[in-house]
Symmetry: D2
Subunit: 439 residues, 4 copies
């Protein structure tokens, strides 16, 4: 989720909108910033320091980087009285914005004992106070320039909120003590996952991409026509129980089921199950590391923490395939969905079983759904000008699109046109599988 | 060009076709087999041994592997009297067919002094004699099963003919003596490359993919509908002269022009020009290693040996983009093309300048043209059953499609629907750039 | 300093010795344990977590590992009432004792946010209380077995005290904020380093190795005869000023001055100066990272943080050589030394200039002195039996001996026969250069 | 065996010596040069090209490099009429003489198809003719300067003769066809290896190092005094049968037997037996790759192709140790040896069993014997001046000394003071084990 966001110009233009939007933005700003800190509530200082692999960032880095974003793109250009908190932070907390200046090497983020967690929180407070003043008191010409970037900044921080939960799960995984993130008990699983049905969609030209209302990332634009063949989509996500059958049927030992690069990765990494799965001490049963600590792998929950390679191999084993992102989006917008999305606000901290209702379930929340689509520019795509927009498209290579959000995505951050993307070997995100097939 | 081929079923069915086709196939078999050896005519034994990098195979491996293909997929199953030449060869010369058995590690192909070149030629003769008998004398039920696989085998050998020229160029490149492959002199460049024009194509639904006549690889199937926006295509390939301006304008030093992964590759590999380019001893002028030895880089010839990353960065610098493979194919089939394709048979051994004629030039031959399309399955694609078809789709990940063939591709091997594919960092193929843009 | 220690049997036998030694050991135990914690006094929790490179361990690991040593080798075998603090710790805090059980991968020590620093201190308290009881109250047969291992445990903890200071210096070095370990100001340099003189020693048979009084590591045994040629030793350590002349004379650019492996290392690591040296912002002057933060490189202080390769190259440049360990030890015991050793207790936190006195200076403390001797077994060396002694000799390969201790070595830990050892590329220790030459 | 050699000055001074020595040198020059080519007699061109690992050089490189040595250090400086054969060769065939100029990267020697084998032989002929003229016809002042370097060049070529046999064995090993170097049959083993006895040597001061008669490498100088404790040496080499017992006793699975670095290497390389050993197809019996092709491992032959790490672990398992190089040399010169050395001239192409005679056997030839001594400078060692002597000592780091020569060493190249050296993980040389122990 390295994507930088860009304001859809229509979404915040209009004078009356601006008038009401100061309070609106102020409230959202407070809420989003508070939620980042709420995520860290139960953690101790040492938990904020560790980088368990290069893809993971320490929590204090996330907390500081999201603040640096507001400082760099709003306070420094638009708040003349703003005093920089610490000049080193521009170097330490820049992620990859080349034009903004040099930056600390990503894979070394875990080598920094300083700044302390306390200092990072002070930094957040410093930025928060200045941002609240800027939102409330800037004159309206300034606010007009501030609002679109603020929108981006809030979405950016929401992306990092998901990453914080994803990353702390991994930090605790590499620790033989296997700490739990939360001391809550997960709700008992009530329902068995319903049998999977196939929902049919007809061939023809459709439009996909963001349609102009509300915020969207630039990579969701422009809305454009695609032709799709008729196709069918699985009514729910693939479950752990189904995935166990794939494993038991030697799915991880049959190269014919895998892409060539997937098989090479599986060999090198010695994958035999999804990330976080372990055999129980008596080697009889699958258990997995979760935000609640080690738990049994529940058959009815959606399978999670699989790579694109595993999702693709599973689909081939099941005589199906993954959906293209166009198919997924068409299905998501053309169908009534009976279920409530399972986003971060549900506090479920894990994907939940499908219910027995008819129709297309689990499209939003639970797990990100790998698609068969490489992450590429939409026809007519133009990266926006300037530092913020500069790098929107630069990740469009060797990654695959995921759709729908997960149980650790903030609800207000998600929409059916949202395009997430990761390399096909990534497993530490909350990623799962929905099947599709030709008619 | 790792793709395994599959017969388009329509192309060789029909009884009368079979009757005449024995002679046809016999002639083609002889011609294709002879051309592989003709490529090696001027080389010495030592040249057949070296593997200059993992992507390159030694020439003797190519000569043996193409023979192994006929032995494994035709002689062993269909010629009961056939005696295997050497049982070790099944291991040594299998490329990646997992179901056919274990195989020698690709990157160690250059560690084999034995079998000798002479022995490999004996192997070819052994296979040739048996194949000619099989084509001529098999009863017609057998021949019906043989013919489609034979077709594949011939196309397979043609792919390796291109690789042989591509690989020996690289083998000579890593040698400080910089030997020339041919002692012919290249023809003098007569024409200056014409100015580039933009050819327009309208929006709408189109069909792309192979249409049923003649042979095609499975990845060209099925023919299917796509919707394209209106677009324009450059009338000719990008030239060395234009590429030098990109270099002079610091194209290799501006990260904003590059994909993130491209920039990382450029940094790590320290690219500052296309593969094979060198500064002349007085550091004043670009020269490059060619099949003729070291030569000046001619401004009017198409630029060659650039990666997808460089093609993409150049296009961005030129305020254009690469074409999608659908756009490229539509342009290739909807347009009269004034020029003669420059394939291997022209013996040019290099891409040639465009001429001053109007219309779309250089679409076939010269250099493979990088497209903006990731190499993925066409809608409804099904890999054919059995060992040969087993792996058709397994390379559909993290590669980009190239179109049109090159100056070292056999003419009879190419067609507008042909999909070649390489990873975005590959440069040792004869690969170049055609620009496209939105209307 | 991975060496495991072994009691010299003579040193604690004798009944009267035992009687007085309970108090003696209790006092020493308290003092040594307290000093480990005093080292960390000024640090914050985050500083205890980071592992800046594989050779470095996080501070909390040192604090726990030294406690694990007492728990494993004394409390578990000899204190029947002892309750293990946490069964996971046996895995987490074992360093390399294969027979004692599996252990956490060394290079992943920085991935552990838990146990918290607070918990590690609780662990220390738990072990301390049990150890104090064991020392005071065990019956005398038990105490007789306890005492030799206790001696080892105290020396082991002292080794880690040196490592803690060495490691935290490196942890702060990789941090662009370059924190200082101490906020004390270093004393002003008063004296200019005296000119170096050569002290002569005669040829003949000598005895080296520990002689039986007091504690020694097993690798200092047995005392044995060596023959040495006549030699001369430099009267003081090589200074920063002298080392700057080596740099200015292109010492880092002349392969003829270097061992082949040293030159390869220098090339790969791009060394151009000792570790921690930087050019000042105006690139005019050398500054270096110290426990006091960034400071000017003082010409009269001994050069520090050089590898064996650099020490060897410097000596060649200076038309001298490094001393063998036999020469060093002979010189140390045969000479009156006028100066006070500069050990950790001096709180200097850095090597100090030599004074103007005659004779051999700076032999003890300041910096470890690289010798020309590979770290190998003394003639007749026998590793002691059992887990503790099991691995004494297993590091005797591809390392070089260092002598004399450094400014961060506890004084009571050092003696002239002490053999420290590191690989020839190690630089993060406080290591420097003394010259020798043939007569 | 990277050592560069230096003439012991005494060995060729004296006027009468010079007079007779032209013919002597001419004969030796012809014989040594002819033997290099005789080694390659049965090989085909392809065998000269392959580099099976970085430590191995292609045969044609050895043939050319040894010629380059004469061209560079004798013909260019001393034969004014000499015309360089090919100016590129100075770059291609320099091994590591930095002062002589740039050189082709060692690990890329196998990437060169050109110069052809034929051309390399022409190069040899060209150099041979010029060298013969120089030896015969140079005036005597010139010849005085030529002779010492010629001596070095001949010894240098003999070193490469051993490497050629060692390297071709490895080249054939990595080839699944497992070609044999020779089609001769090995003589039947007649004798069972005698039981090992211990030969005792007394303590005291001794002199080791070359004593001034005949040629020696600089690293054998100066002759100097050492003190040794009393010790015992095994009367013969360790046999395959004894080594099989080490394997059967889980020697490769018990870390306590190994040096720490040895165990890490064994783990990483997954060693379970000496290099070239394989389990027979029925997994019942050890076979090994030899210069005769695959053969059973004969119990009575000395074990060969073990690393220092394995030799050291075996010795520990056998309650013994390796000898120091001083002990080895003392034993070799103080003892009557009953057996005939097994050098290259015996054409045995393998180590042979010990016989039943009393006394110290197998000290010369058969296999190089690993010693416990790190390869370091003798006291008073001075590298000779100039390009040839420049690098004599530069390999004195992280290598161990081997003594005695092997079955592929030319007899005239060996003497008891000869110090060979390799890194402790090297196994492709003909290296074996002799045990020692304290008295």
């Amino acid at each position: 989720m390295g994507s930088v966001v860009v304001q859809n110009p229509q979404s915040i233009s209009g004078e009356s909108a601006v008038a009401g939007s100061r309070n609106h933005y102020l409230d959202r700003f407070k809420a989003v910033r508070a939620y980042s800190e709420a995520i860290c509530d139960k953690l101790v200082n040492e938990d904020f320091v560790v980088q368990s692999m290069p893809d993971v960032s320490p929590l204090k880095w996330h907390l500081a980087h999201t603040s640096w974003f507001f400082e760099t793109f709003l306070l420094k250009p638009h708040a003349p009285q703003y005093e920089e908190f610490d000049p080193h932070f521009a170097y330490l907390f820049n992620s990859y914005y080349v034009t903004v200046g040099d930056r600390h090497c990503r894979q070394n983020r875990g080598l920094l004992s300083r700044p302390t967690v306390e200092n990072v929180y002070r930094y957040r407070g410093h930025v928060d106070r200045a941002m609240r003043r800027l939102i409330s008191d800037s004159d309206s010409a300034v606010f007009d320039r501030v609002a679109p970037v603020l929108e981006i900044g809030l979405n950016h921080e929401q992306q990092h909120q998901e990453l914080m939960l994803t990353d702390i799960k991994h930090v605790f995984w590499v620790n033989p003590l296997r700490p739990a993130y939360t001391d809550r008990k997960p709700d008992a699983e009530c329902a068995a996952a319903a049998g999977m049905k196939w929902i049919r969609f007809n061939a023809g030209n459709r439009k996909i991409g963001h349609d102009g209302d509300g915020f969207a990332f630039d990579n969701e634009l422009p809305r454009h026509t695609v032709y799709v063949n008729a196709f069918e989509l699985g009514s729910r996500l693939v479950t752990n129980g189904e995935y166990k059958r794939f494993i038991a049927d030697h799915g991880y030992e049959r190269p014919k089921l895998w892409l060539s690069l997937g098989w090479a990765t599986r060999q090198q990494e010695q994958w035999t199950a999804p990330l976080y799965w372990l055999k129980s001490p008596d080697a009889d049963q699958w258990i997995h590391h979760t935000l609640f600590g080690l738990r049994d792998v529940a058959d009815d929950e959606p399978v999670c923490h699989v790579s694109f390679f595993e999702a693709d191999a599973f689909a081939r084993w099941a005589n199906a395939r993954l959906a293209t992102e166009a198919e997924w989006e068409i299905a998501a917008v053309e169908t009534e969905r009976p279920d409530t999305p399972n986003f971060a606000e549900s506090l479920s901290c894990r994907p939940l079983p499908a219910t027995d209702q008819p129709g297309l379930q689990q499209m939003l929340g639970h797990v990100w759904e790998w698609t068969a689509s490489a992450y590429l520019a939409y026809p007519g795509y133009r990266p926006p000008p300037g530092a913020l927009g500069e790098y929107n498209g630069k990740f469009m290579c060797n990654q695959f699109v995921l759709r729908g959000g997960s149980c650790v995505t903030p609800a207000s951050h998600m929409r059916p046109t949202y395009r997430n993307f990761f390399t096909p070997d990534a497993r530490w995100q909350f990623t799962g599988i929905r099947l599709a097939r030709d008619v």
